[in-house]
Amino acid sequence: MSEQLQQVLQNQQQQKEKQDKPDKEEGIVQLVCFMVDEEEFAVPILSIQEIIKPIETTRVPSTPDYVVGVFNLRGTVIPLIDLRLKFSREKSAYNDDTRFIVIKNKNQRSGFVIDKLTEAIRLKESDIGSAPESLGEEDNHIYGVGQREDRIVSILRIESILKRTF
């Protein structure tokens, strides 16, 4: 955590130094933003395998409530995690905006339930602030906070949300 943090800070430092001679192609990350409850989150676009509409899932016993179950993605069985419950928000029924985002990291794949997709953005690394210092479980999953003109998005740390904690 602290190492990651340091790196972010370092990156920031570097970005600041470079600001005199701005390089447009450098330090740009592409993110996909989505809503979970009232908050906006984002994940790097390259970590997303696909985004699908809700399909039927099968409950898996002896798992925490945020593990909705498993679903069939063209022949592969993939676990599904409800981010609302994972982040200790109130459960809500699926609606027309609900999507499953399938995220991959190395050989691991998981689906995540989100409330609504918002947009895909390009963000300069310099616009990513460090995650807020707090002890909540949710914040361990946050890599940094991206600043947009009018709002902020929390960028999720992929390895962290894909890690099994039970």
């Binding site: 899932t57 099968t58 898996v60 016993p61 798992t63 179950g69 498993v70 022949g75 592969t76 998981s110």
Partner: protein, 808 residues
Amino acid sequence: MDELQELTQDFLVEAFEMIEQLDQDLVELEARPDDLDLLNGIFRVAHTIKGSSSFLNFDVLTHLTHHMEDVLNLARKGEITIDQAIMDVVLESIDMMKALLVKIRDTGNDQDHGMDIEGIVTKLDAVSKGEDPEAAEAPAAQAPAESKPASTPAPENPLADEPEVDYSKMSDDEVEAEIERLLKVRQEEDKRRREEKIAAGESVPEPPKPPAEPKPAAEAKPEPAAQAPKAQEAPKPAAPKPAPKPAAKPAAKPAAKAAPAEMNVVEQTIRVDVNRLDHLMNLIGELVLGKNRLLKIYDDVEERYEGEQFLEELNQVVSSVSMVTTDLQTAVMKTRMLAIGKVFNKFPRMIRDLARELGKKIELKISGEETELDKSIVEVIGDPLVHIIRNSADHGVESTEDRIAAGKGETGIVNLKAYNEGNSIVIEIADDGKGLDADVLKSKALEKGVISEKEADAMSDKEAFALIFRAGFSTAAKVTNVSGRGVGMDVVKTNIEKLNGIIEVDSELGKGTVIKLKIPLTLAIIQSLMVGAQEEFYAIPLSSVLETVRISEEEIFSVEGRSVMRLRDEVLPLVKLSDIFGVEQVIEGGEHTYVVVLGLAESKLGLIVDTLVGQEEIVIKSLGEYLQGIEGVAGATIRGDGRVTLIVDVAALMQMAKKTKAPVTQQKQRKSKAKSEPSDYKILVVDDSKTDRTIMRQSISPLGVTLIEASDGVEALNIIKSGEHEFDACLIDIEMPRMDGYSLASEIRKYSRFKALPLIAVTSRTSKTDRMRGVEVGMTEYITKPYSPEYLMNVVKRNINFNMEMSA
């Protein structure tokens, strides 16, 4: 250098295969010392290994095998007779050879092995000189000096003297030329050596056989008359070797020339990487899923378009696809099959050694060694069998005196048998020894604290026999080198459980013991029993299902807070699948309930399920890294409708069942809240027509009750199931898309908490059969359109026990 490594690999594979064969042959040889075919076969193995190892510069191995060859050669020519003493020396030397091969496999060379080769070489020499091998042990130190010139590596391998040439830097032509040159050197050397040997009066052995024999593992059947097949294999591998393998070619060619006469039948086999077969199996798995899906869709289509012309055509296509898929699956599965003889081969030798060690006379009879099993299973089955057979020989078969006293034949017989039974293979190990004593087993188990006194009392004989598989349990009065150290039989249990297998023990005191292992044929695609727990479905591997029974609630007894039932002469512990997996209780069970009797290794369990769906072929899929190792779940499969179904891990389930103490009988239902306002009453209106819904709304609105609308059956069912609203009645139209009113009603009635919910059909279907159907599916009232608003209101009022003043 890589080529050499590859060659060494091939050599090792071949050598290990041959040694397996060798053990079997040697034991047979002891019984029939003058069987020339057998002797020739054994001689050839020693010879082949010698040839290959000298070629690969394994000097120590060459040295050893050379001396073995000498002894065997003499025996072959009838100059010495193999008696037990000589056999012991030969077997010892073969063990040494095995150890060297293992060493080569692990380290890549046979030097620095720290093993005493000379001792055994001296013994072998003594045998070939006609001396007593035991006497020869003393002058072992002088042995190296005595070793014959033929055993030194240089003349054995003329190419060894060649300077290392970097072939990779040569052009193709240069390589060819080099090959030609080396070949010549080799041939001349061979010729020279043969002449030399003839001059020396020795029989002329064939030139070294090439190491890269493509001999499939499955072929390694014990075949006493191994002469013919062995000879055919020899010349094979030369052809496919590409030019940059100069080492292989020169070696192979002389071999091909030497044995052309015997080469009338070419063996039709190739070696294939197991990974490729696994990949193929995965693809077939996908295909099987696709087939299941197709069958399911066909069923749906058939229902909808009954009697149409194209159905017949579709039927033909579907059944032919399904048949081809099944055949394909079987064919691919067969490529992964190995004869169990591969495992059985090592046992005759083991029994022989055991018998000598224990001072008993034991004969091992093997049958059904051609029975085939999946490769992955063959790999795991060896260890358990070793333990069981050792156990039979050690504890089962009595000493010779005891046997004579008991009026049995002097020689104890252990029968090892394999055969197919349905989708499983059964391996049976039977001895005619003293048998198991249930009472002794029980008291022993009590003494060791493996079971409690109560358990002991309740135990049947069969259950007592199964005690031998518990960890920390040994019945041997004295601990021998062979068994009785308290490990072993529980290894059997663990390994068999891993394979979803079943162990059965049967024994008669004084007559013998029979242990049966029942193992599924394959692991990737299995037959399963689909069961339902409330609304969820689970697949149970059919190999673990013994039977299914339907019992009434009165047949369930409670013992120490746990539920049991009586099944014939056994008491079967019961557990509810939905309790184990924490399935929400929504559907009320009837008076009768289904029990799936599970058997795994030696234990049994009755699993109460709500529905039995049927037998289905499933492909096992992993749940992925994230959900790995969930207790009680072995994996998942995708069913014909595309849904994921979890596969029950029967071994884990049995562990979980021990912890679940909840009685299996039904619990009470929740109570609904009291109504104080008219709006507390909630009515669901289901109709696909907006107009009709509005008419109904207007008719009932004077009551002031809350109305929720749904536009078809599926939507309505979801609203009801979600539990968001507590409905007091439903108004249901019959003709609706997706799910009609009849289906909706019968779906709703499946839930115990909706058993009393008034369902009012509102429809323009007026025929008597329609009304009858309504009653059948559980409709409370049947109103035909058109209706007067008052009439509808009154029906609703009556059904919801509305007893308030009208609000408007």
